[in-house]
Symmetry: C2
Subunit: 148 residues, 2 copies
Amino acid sequence: MVKRICHGATNCPVARSLDAIGDWWSLLIIRDAFRGRRRFGAFQKSTGAAKNILTTRLRGLVDYGVMEMVPASDGSAYQEYVLTEKGLDLFPVVIALWQWGEKHFFEPGETPPVLRDRRRKKPIPELAVLAADGRRLRHTGTTLMPQF
Amino acid sequence: MVKRICHGATNCPVARSLDAIGDWWSLLIIRDAFRGRRRFGAFQKSTGAAKNILTTRLRGLVDYGVMEMVPASDGSAYQEYVLTEKGLDLFPVVIALWQWGEKHFFEPGETPPVLRDRRRKKPIPELAVLAADGRRLRHTGTTLMPQF
DNA sequence: CAATATGGTTGTATGTTGCAACCAGATTGT
DNA sequence: ACAATCTGGTTGCAACATACAACCATATTG
């Protein structure tokens, strides 16, 4: 999205992901797309981004295949921006960021908005990295992460 | 980290997380911290960031409580940067970004570095958002995400 | 058919980045 | 002991990105 002079051909999946979405505004747009926002104006209001910034970010997300432009669902001549399958796959990323923020950036007095499964009417349990045998995996120095 | 003029007091956990780590370099530093990097010079080499950028990012991460400076583990007079408990809690975020990049940014010919649990010698299964009853949760429009 | 909403584009001032040069203290080699 | 080098930065500057306001064309509403 933002031009990356230094890391064109990195082999690291994290770096490649960040090329597409590793930017404050893009991630905020994606968050709002998961909250049902579809229109340019809606994203502008809910993210607070300036129009030109929003334009470049939406264009970048479309270029990377995270979102796509579709005819407006209300039949008007306008267009909407919706997440592609690739974009929907970012769900765990957004949830992980949500839960981390919820855990670490709210004072005892504050009540963070609760992430809940509306269908089952229960809060969503904390996302966990599991090993192949289903046991919860905790990061322990050299357990993970190849050196590429 | 980067000064956010527009969103000082947002109630959204994702936005609060992004204030601390929603930046290309910071996330790359965190990735490398999970890969065992500890020294300024090591981060410089593995991320490719310029020294001044690295300085500001490391300082920011320390300010936000994601990393901390500790005396060097080899007994020298230098210092090292290590993840705090709060920083270690970013593990799911990094894994989610890793897996998303692995799935969507590698051509059929390319082989992405595999994320594997060294202790059990098996690849790590895909991170999934689970509902309270343990069933896999897929994003379906209005299932999740409160409007704050 | 005038007024307004939508979805942008184009300046311009300011802030952030990337790069190279420089520097002080710690460490190493002799 | 002392010069060379390594480590972990800081500073200056040019290039680039951002925020904000003004403007504009098309679509929609009253």
